[in-house]
Amino acid sequence: MKHFLSVNQFSVDEILSILETASNYKKGYFPIQKQIFAANLFYEPSTRTTMSFNVAQRKLGFDVLDFSVDTSSVQKGESLYDTVKTFEAIGANILIVRHQDDHWYEELHSKLSIPLINAGAGKAEHPTQCMLDLLTIYEEFETFKGINVAICGDIKHSRVAKSNADALKRLGANVYFSAVPGFEDETLPYPYLSMNDAVQTCDVVMLLRIQHERHMYATTNECYLTHYGLTDSREKLMKKHAIIMHPAPVNRNIEIASNLVESKKSRIFKQMTNGVYVRMAIMTQLLKEWGIINEVIIKECEPIVT
């Protein structure tokens, strides 16, 4: 039985099937079933991912068990393993975990009898973010074949860059990086473009957040934006059909000019909306595979209006 730990573990067909399920949820239908307890264990701060999982679970009719590191036995030194086993013992049916360790799930997943979803592993991988990015691109172009995607910013410290690049490549897109000198990752086999070339030639300009918490030196905001960020003048060079993406939180006026966040080409808020549907699809897919639910009643649900 599979957990959802890395996009790499899924074949192209499985990825496309999750995207299709997510699109169906978006049209307003979703299955509701017996009582399902979903536990969200977030050891790192998060707004979008926690809330998105919460909404996804509630839309599916799950009972949500929220957990806060600050008020739990983690304060008494309880390990991730014991915490996870506790949730399993009290009857959780599916676990969502974000943890600051890059490899937190490696020993854990084989010892569980319920499905586990990786909602972020240190700076290693954030696979549900990757899936929502894929859904956003797929909705835009209805294919991945031959689409040119530039992933721009701090490639080295980003957990989005590698998983997105690998998945997009497998799906047939051409992937490029654009990085500030010193923030390239030479271990990844993707060609680099200057920011000016990237905006002019690519169909998707995917910006990454500058991770201040991981950088020691000061990048003055204005300087970063003019040299490496998406400015108004660079946005004007983009192809007519090209789109802007960003995993958020956005540092306005650092990696992107503030007014472009809500501009016509921006899909930044649409990505967040898509996150809900893609997480619904991932959770139901796993629960079905594990035999915890089967497709029963279909109930209509109000789509999120954007």
């Binding site: 040119n148 530039a150 051409n174 490029y176 060609p191 473009l193 070339d197 002019q200 030639t201 169909d203």
Partner: protein
């Protein structure tokens, strides 16, 4: 076919080739044992220019050869099945066994021409390595082939055409994008 943008002019092309020459020497520790092989048509003058630059930098005369790989198709189109590029002629007058062969072409696209070129080189000897230098990498690979030296990466759509013009053949040095 209408011209959209010029992506490399004469001086940018010259700088790119100078950089590639330095990278070749750096990667191959001074350039002993290398053989440069241009893929016809425009890979041949590019190979000659690299040979010239290496001579200027390192005072080393590296052997050069050429391959004529015919595309039984309009070479601006992608290959379709049963339409693979084929070898027409090999002019490599030096033994490639245990040498590092550097293939040179103007544009890297699907990778099929390069594959045919690698086959041709392997047919005449057993090089210790084959490396690939291209002036432009336009993406859309159909084979697991990657260039070791790239003049410029230019992401393109399949509706676009990359036109490389060289002094020796076209009387000017320029790379441009056209729209079909």
């Amino acid at each position: 076919m209408k011209k959209k943008t010029e992506v490399l002019d004469q001086s940018a092309m010259n700088r790119a080739l100078t950089r590639i020459a330095h990278e070749i020497l750096e990667k191959n520790k001074g350039g002993e044992d290398i053989v440069i092989v241009g893929i016809k048509t425009r890979g041949v003058p590019l190979a000659e220019r690299l040979q010239e630059k290496i001579k200027n930098i390192e005072d080393l005369e590296v052997p050069i050869g050429e391959l004529d790989i015919t595309l039984y198709r309009d070479d601006l189109e992608k290959a379709v099945e049963a339409n693979e590029p084929e070898l027409k002629d090999t002019k490599i007058h030096t033994d490639v066994t245990d040498k590092k062969v550097i293939l040179v072409d103007d544009v890297l696209y699907t990778g099929r021409t390069v594959r045919a070129a690698m086959d041709a080189v392997m047919d005449i000897g057993r090089p210790s390595q084959i490396q690939l230098a291209v002036l432009v990498d336009r993406g859309h690979r159909e084979l697991p082939i990657r260039a070791d030296y790239v003049g410029k990466n230019i992401p393109t759509s399949d509706k676009e055409i990359i036109v490389v013009q060289l002094q020796e053949i076209d009387d000017l040095d320029q790379v441009s994008i056209y729209e079909k």
